[in-house]
Every structure is written in C-alpha cells, then in structure tokens.
C-alpha cells in the first residue's frame, strides 16, 4: 500500500511565486494548494488541513503575520508546521520581536528561494 502524498499550502500574493513553488513541490511528490492572501489561506486550511504551509509575510488584505497568529491560536490548526518565505528580512525580524504569545515558525526561507534547501526543510518537517 502506498503512503498518501503529503500536502503543502503555498500562501503568497505574487503569482510567480505560487506558480514556481507549486511546480517545484508537485515535481517532488507533494499535493499543492495555493492562496493569495491570509483570508483566503485561512478558508483553505479550514476546508482541508495541509501537512505544511509556506507563508509570505507582506500580502494585501490579511498579512502573513496575522494569518500565522490566527492559526497558532486555533486548537485545530496550531500543530501545522509553517515555513516563512520572504524577501524582506526586516519584516521577519519585526515579526519575531512581536511574537510574545506565539511560538516561532518552524522554518524560515529567504527569497530568492533555494530549491534544495526548501525541499530538505519540508522533508525534515513532515516526513
């Protein structure tokens, strides 16, 4: 019996990033869903629990930081590992310094994305 494919939710407002990560992860055996902002991502996570989330920080409507806080405060969702993917390190630093009540994300990946590094990180977190 083959093991079911692990699922990843890619959250980023930039279509190029969604396209790129979807192709990369699908090619490496993952089921991929995408969302363009925090609100849409929360709907998708609640509809189907992913095994891992890659999360952009700066997005319109609901930012990655707010989405992250929401899932960390939700008993059903708080266990899902999150990899922050962002090009703005200051955003991440601000996020880290403001995370008084929430634990830090499981992984951090700066843009441009290193293909091998992100695949290894995902493997380690969900295999």
């Amino acid at each position: 019996m083959t093991e079911p494919r692990k699922s990843v939710l890619v959250v980023d407002d930039e279509p190029d990033v969604r396209e790129y990560l979807s192709a990369l992860l699908e090619d490496n055996g993952f089921d991929v869903a995408t969302a363009e902002d925090g609100t849409n991502a929360l709907d998708k996570v609640r509809a189907r629990l992913p095994d891992l989330i890659t999360l952009d920080i700066t997005m319109p409507e609901k930012s990655g930081v707010r989405f992250y806080r929401d899932i960390r405060e939700d008993e059903q969702l708080k266990h899902i590992p999150v990899i922050m993917v962002t090009g703005i390190s200051t955003d991440f630093e601000r996020f880290i310094s403001s995370r008084k009540q929430v634990p830090p994300p499981e992984g951090y990946m700066s843009k441009p994305i290193d293909q091998q590094k992100i695949l290894k990180m995902i493997e380690e977190l969900i295999s």
Binding site: D13, D16, V17, E19, Y20, A23, T86, I88, P112, Q115
Partner: protein, 488 residues
C-alpha cells in the same frame, strides 16, 4: 596754640599737597594763585589767563565754569581736555567754587581739576570692548537671544532679527515656533531651574515660513549677587546637516529597497527558468510557455526598475517642449499594449478631442505615465479574486490643465496604503517592488507644477489622476530651479 598747629597741618600745606590742580582765578579769568602740582605741570602763572595756561587759547572758552560761578555764585562742573607744558593731553573733571567776602560778594573762584586721563582711557577701552562684543553678538552665524524668567525675548542679535523679526519682548515660543503655549520641553526653563547649560534640537519657522532645524544651547546670565537674571539662548541652524542626513538615509533606503526588489526579481527569474527547464524535460509546452513568459516579464521589470533607479539617482535637467497630450498618451499606450495583452488585462485608451497641448519634458512625462500604467497592470496581475481585469487610460483637459487618468480594477489599496502611496520606497508589493515607481511619478508631476490624486479601495481597484498646468508658471520654474536646457 602751638599744640593746635602740631595737630592740624596749615591750610597752605594742604593746598599745596592736594593731588589735583587747584587754582584761584579773578573776574578776568587770570590765575592769581595755584598749588604746586598745577605749577609743576603748567608752569609759572605770571597772571596768565586760565584758557592760555590750560588750552593755549587766546580767547576764553565758550563755556567756562569759573565764569558761571562768578555769575551765579554757585559751584559748577565740567569735563575738559587740557594740555600740560610738556605737551601731554590730560582729561580733567573741573569743579569751580566761588570764594566770597564777608558781604557775600564773589571775589574770586577756586577751580579744582582732577586728572581722570586713566579713567577716560579705561572708559574708551570698555566702549571699544563693548562695541567688539556687540559686533560679535550681531555677526556670529547663529541666533542669539536673551530671555527673562517669563520667557520674553529681551535681547536678540542681528542674525535673529533678519530671520525672525524684532522680538519686541514677545515670548520665545511665539517668535520661534508661532505657538501660543510654552513648549513641552524647554531648555531655557531648565537653565532657569538649575542654572546649568542645556541643549536640545528644535524645528522653528522663520518669518518667511521656512522650516529651520536648530541646535539650541542655553546658559544662565547671573546678576552681581550670583542669582539667575536671564538666560542666553544660542541656536545654530543645522538644516543643511539634517538635509544631508536625510539624503544619506534615502540612499540607505534606496540600497535596501533595491536589494529587496532584486530578490523578488531573482525569485521570478528562478521560477521562470525552473518552469522552462522542467517543461523541456517533461515535454510540457504549456509549462514551457508559462516559464518563458515569467522570464520575459521579470526581465521587463528589471529594465523598468533600473530606469527608475537611474531617474532617481541622476539630477535631470528638464528639456521643456510644447507637448500634445493625446499624442504622448497614444505613444505610452502603444508601449504597454502588448504587455497588457500578455497579462490578460483589457487596456483601453481614450483621448478627448480637446485634450490639447501643455508644457512638459517628454521623457519625464513618458516615464511618469509608464510608471502609473505598469503599477495598475501589476495591481491586476496579482489580483486573483476577479476573472476580468481592466485598466483605463484617459487624457482629458480643462482650460488650464491637462489631465491623465489611470484606473484599474486590481487589488486596490486601503486608506493607510493610499496615504503612503507616493512616499519614497513605499511599496505594498512586499519584495516585488522597489517602491520607486509611484514616488518618481509623483516627483515628475510635482516638477511640472502638477499634482496626483489617488482614489482607491481595497479589493476594488485604484484611480490615479494626474493634473498638470498647460503653461509653466513662475512657481514651477522656481521649484525646478531651471529655465530649460538639454539632457545629457
């Protein structure tokens, strides 16, 4: 009697020993008696006139205290400059006092002249010194004021008066900051409180309304008993330093912003290359085409970002021309028509018949319009909530202005984003933009004496309206500091 003589020296002896010039003069102003000091410095008397002896004159002086004492029987005082027999100029204070007989008639006048040459020299030195300090006070290249304990400006130097007007005992906060209430933090108050030197940095406004950054130092002025009488405030204009600092901060922000922009572009290129490579390997033409489109688009973005960085970094001399609004709009539309098609955005262009002509730098106007249109196309590209995206580009005009409107139904902006839209390096696109595009569009519009208004709502789209005067005004020329020229 002999005893008394021993106790008190004879009057004649006292008269001779007095350390001043004493003479007795008759009604003809002839000196009939004088003490030793007088004789030593002015020679023998021989019944000479006082004006001959003192001043070498042949006629009496215009104002003569001795003559006055003869006339009214009272004492008089005057200040004179006399010359000794060896030619030395001596300043004297002269007291004349009448000598009366038993019937009270003035028979002669005693004149006592005290040598005050040294005091006069000291006074002159003091005057020169005061003048020098006054000059220093006025000419020193900073603002100096003296405030009393009620914060009234009671003294101000010339530099202060030139930029802030005569204080006329107004409060310092009124003159410097045009406020009605005392400032929250006041170094003058601190000095009044503890007698120490205090400093702070303040932003003040001159008579002309110019903002001036100042570095302020305050020091106490003490009275003879050591109490604080008033406070001296010295303010140095550090506006050029602050401007330079702000420019350096901008350069720092530019570098950081460019780095973030490049990261986003590299990511897009990486993604495009990955799709091209795997599309070829998997023989998947759809993936190949998507990847290639991604590579092309990111190369385009690199091009436009480099242009913006160059535009920001280089001081351009505007090349003024009479431009046709409709024609320049059509040129820009043609440049972006293909890009809109690739992105699946319906780009519509419309120029009103009366759009007409205006004064502008064609290269700058094109850059401004391309930035606005690319911004709108990008706002549609990243919006996945709608299936149909539109960008409308219109050129219209009034009698005085040419108007360019760029409207889209992309992701839109909330209030905060809208307010910050034109500020330097602000981007709502995270790592995907440098934040230079709208800043440069705004900079170009302002340099043309125009303005950009933004109307937008999150998720509904945005509308940018650029209004530029048809004719260059004096204000525009002053703002640009240029009367036209060539670009190099």
């Amino acid at each position: 009697m002999a005893k008394e003589e021993n106790r008190e020296p004879p009057y004649d002896q006292l008269f001779q020993a007095m350390p001043c010039y004493i003479s007795i003069q008759n009604r003809d102003l002839r000196i009939i008696e004088a003490n030793d000091k007088f004789k030593r410095d002015f020679g023998t008397l021989n019944g000479r006139h006082c004006f001959e002896v003192y001043k070498g004159r042949t006629e009496k002086c215009e104002v003569c205290p001795v003559e006055q004492s003869f006339a009214d029987g009272l004492s008089h005082r005057s200040e004179e400059r006399v010359r000794t027999r060896d030619g030395r100029e001596v300043s004297v204070i002269v007291y004349s006092s009448p000598v009366k007989d038993q019937e009270g008639r003035v028979t002669s006048v005693m004149e006592v002249s005290t040598d005050v040459t040294e005091i006069k020299a000291l006074e002159e030195k003091l005057r020169m010194s005061e003048q020098r300090y006054r000059l220093l006070f006025d000419r020193v290249p900073c603002y100096i004021t003296v405030q009393d304990p009620e914060l009234n400006v009671i003294e101000a130097n010339q530099r202060f008066i030139e930029d802030f007007g005569r204080p006329e005992t107004r409060k310092c906060y009124e003159v410097y900051k045009h406020r009605r209430e005392e400032c929250l933090h006041c170094p003058v108050q601190e000095t009044l409180r503890d007698g120490g030197v205090h400093h702070s940095e303040e932003v003040v406004a001159s008579l002309d309304g110019d903002r001036i950054n100042t570095l302020v130092y305050t020091a106490p002025i003490l009275d003879t008993e050591g109490n604080i009488d008033s406070v001296m405030e010295m303010s140095t204009n550090i506006t050029p330093i602050r401007e330079l600092q702000s420019q350096l901060e901008s350069v720092g922000l530019l570098i950081s912003s460019i780095s973030h922009g490049i990261k986003g572009l590299l990511n897009g290129l990486d993604g495009g290359m990955y799709l091209v490579n795997t599309g070829l390997k998997k023989n998947n033409p759809e993936r190949l085409s998507k990847g290639w489109e991604m590579v092309q688009r990111n190369v385009d973005r690199i091009r436009s970002q480099v242009m913006n960085i160059l535009y920001y970094a280089k001081e351009r001399v505007p090349q003024w021309e009479r431009l046709n609004g409709g024609e320049i709009g059509a040129e820009v539309f043609k440049v972006l028509e293909a890009k809109a098609k690739e992105l699946g955005v319906m780009l519509r262009y419309d120029a009103a018949e009366d759009a007409g002509a205006f004064d502008g730098d064609p290269q700058a106007i094109r850059a401004m319009l391309i930035n606005l249109l690319e911004n709108s196309l990008d706002a549609c590209r990243v919006d996945s909530r709608k299936t149909v995206h539109r960008v409308t580009f219109e050129v219209t005009g009034t009698e005085d202005e040419i108007r360019f409107m760029v409207a889209d139904n992309g992701i839109g902006m909330d209030r905060e984003t809208r307010d910050k839209a034109a500020s330097l390096f602000f981007t709502s696109k995270g790592a995907k933009g440098t934040g230079l595009g709208l800043f440069i569009a705004n900079k170009i519009t302002t340099a043309h004496g125009g303005r950009i208004t933004v109307d937008s709502e999150l998720d509904r789209g945005a509308c940018f309206l650029v209004s530029i005067p048809r004719r260059r005004t004096i204000e525009t020329l002053e703002k640009i500091g240029n009367k036209g020229g060539r670009n190099d």
